[in-house]
Symmetry: C2
Subunit: 358 residues, 2 copies
DNA sequence: ACGGTCCAGTAAACCGGTTTGCTAAACCGT
DNA sequence: ACGGTTTAGCAAACCGGTTTACTGGACCGT
């Protein structure tokens, strides 16, 4: 019932204008192939019937969809909870619009990412945060659609966009060490699939290596119990800090692997009566836009969020073009520390409740 | 060159399995129509060829795309700059995934929203923030695709999801008045198209009415020069506050129409040496997730951002179903004030530099 | 042995465009 | 008046599936 009047098709227009379907098609796509008055007439008739070429039929005939897909292993609602993704998506959107492409999101459908990939009609796929344990990469490759991985170094031969996580993390930790901090707490991002936590290519592992390297240079060891994981959101940060505190951790500084979590950690710390940065220094990762507006403004590691999105679109548009084995498949962006107000020199030693069993 | 091997089609599978195309189709979609061993054989052959039904062809044949579109009059990169949209989109994504639908974004393509609508292959459209001056509404309606407007009361007969802006704004202003504030500054959202600022249905107009109503109840008038507009982002809030300050405004409280702008305003105020809330109270609008994590936590007007997104999907799936003239086309959600830490009793009168020409 | 149901599978139409190859007419210079 | 080149437009194939109508054989009860 809902379709009051069936949409008019190209055949309707052709009939009404007394021409062939081909002519109608030409009138819109290659008007120079027709006499200008015929074009005008056809267009007139088409407008009268308010004809609009069916995009799906056009896709099928042309073999292109004019769409890029952003693929994420997490559900979209958790994805959107982290502003990091918003900034990345903004970059994708900018470049996509410049190229005349629409943007579609591909996320697990009824729990299955594979199914979602199958249903997706896109010319290219930008896959963010896929680990090596995700078989969908093979699925995508086999499908023949150009794709690019973002934030996954898991498979060094796959085309990917990454950032220098280790260097960034190193700079963050070095900054804290320089300020005199020795009791560090790391708040990391928990992997989508539980098993992958140990994977050395997982972002948390990469950044942790950087933290440990800088700490190690100063003779500090970051123990396993000084590393706590959670989802990359503000809630995740709160939760993680409270959990660490409850477990007896009494850090003077926090290394958070995401700004969202860093913000959460600052919040949690404040709830526990700690002042930032007087009692506790906090360093984030991402340099989200909001990092400038927190109180205090967040010291963090900058990575070019939007730019990564833009570059991803460009590379995926290139498709297989850059199949030059000389240049590396991975495009790496630099990271750098941005010092703001959430870090300060280590507080003088205070009386501490000795709740460790020593 | 990039397509090493052409993707195998249903015809290839049919040939290889020695059956008809129809049989292959049945094997996947209606297996009960075939003997179970035939199904198994076909599936086996298909897997061997790693056949994957072309989603576009399927869409064309079935006449459905399995996709909902989120339409925005602004470019996606500006949209994503406001977390409000992220939360709304998260709601849409949740409901869409539950219904097995993909999500596609529709935003102006090369400056033309109409063009973007034409290219979009979706079963339903969720249009956010479209004003009455947007002719695309007519275009969408004519296309016969189910649609729903969000945040636009412009056209009372169109199906829409709105919130009680006026009541929310009223509560916000009443709160400030109760705290003794009399010098109020309003920071509003500038419309996408310049002309629409005056439109009484534009969100800024609606909320302004609420502010004025509450102020008026207390005998306070909000003058035109105490209303400044900007884009709904943190930068917009900063800019707006500085602009007002430069123009000589010395408010004791700010009514911001978006949390993002409120956060920006707090920031700007702090830069000017004002303490929030001791010297300046700030009330936002939206109750974004981040509003809990700012410092101080933001007093704001809650509206159900995610829920609006979920409801939008539901309504659009219903399509024309609810063409019951009895129930109103507009679905309105309630708003309510959430008092946190950014508002306080008005500060005692202080010495003020008289930079107005009085 | 017979007509009637079921069952498994097929052929072909269909979705709504694009694109290729062709034709008939107009136009060209000589 | 004529062969050669454009020009304008058409018919039909094609993209890759789904779906309808149909068929031949197996199975059924009597």
């Amino acid at each position: 019932m809902e379709q009051a009047t069936r949409r008019s098709t190209i055949a309707d227009v052709a009939r009404a204008a007394g021409v062939s379907k081909a002519a109608v098609s030409f009138a819109f796509n290659t008007p120079e192939r027709l006499s200008s008055d015929t074009v005008a007439r056809i267009r007139g008739v088409a407008a009268g019937l308010d004809y609009r070429p069916d995009p799906v039929a056009r896709m099928l005939a042309q073999g292109r969809t004019g769409t890029v897909g952003i693929l994420t292993p997490q559900a979209l609602d958790v994805i959107f909870a982290n502003p990091y993704f918003g900034e990345f998506a903004a970059g994708v959107a900018t470049a996509a619009e410049a190229a005349g492409l629409a943007v579609q999101f591909i996320s697990p459908l009824h729990g299955s990412l594979a199914r979602a990939v199958d249903r997706a009609s896109v010319d290219g796929i930008i896959a963010v945060g896929l680990g090596a344990d995700h078989p969908e990469i093979g699925q995508i490759r086999r499908s023949g659609i150009p794709y690019i991985l973002v934030d996954s170094t898991a498979l060094p031969d796959e085309p990917a966009i990454v950032v220098d996580d280790e260097a960034g993390a190193r700079a963050a930790a070095a900054h804290l060490v320089t300020l005199g901090h020795r009791r560090l707490l790391v708040i990391g991002i928990e992997p989508p699939s539980a098993g992958a936590a140990a994977e050395p290519a997982w972002v948390t592992s990469r950044r942790l290596r950087g933290y440990r390297a800088a700490a190690g240079d100063a003779g500090i060891a970051i123990q396993e119990d000084a590393v706590v994981l959670g989802p990359a959101s503000m809630e995740g940060g709160i939760e993680a800090f409270h959990q660490a505190w409850a477990a007896g951790q009494r850090p003077t500084a926090v290394l958070a692997m995401s700004d969202a979590m860093a913000i959460g950690a600052m919040r949690a710390a404040r709830e526990l009566g700690l002042r930032v940065p007087a009692d506790l220094s906090v360093v984030g990762f991402d340099d989200l836009n909001v990092a400038q507006y927190t109180d205090p403004p967040l010291t963090t590691v900058n990575q070019p969020n939007r730019q990564k999105g833009e570059e991803a679109v460009r590379l995926v548009i290139d498709g297989g073009t850059r199949r030059n084995p000389l240049e590396p498949a991975q495009h790496q962006f630099a990271t750098h520390l941005v010092v703001r107000g959430s870090t300060a020199i280590v507080p003088p030693l205070r009386q501490e409740v000795p709740d460790s069993k020593a």
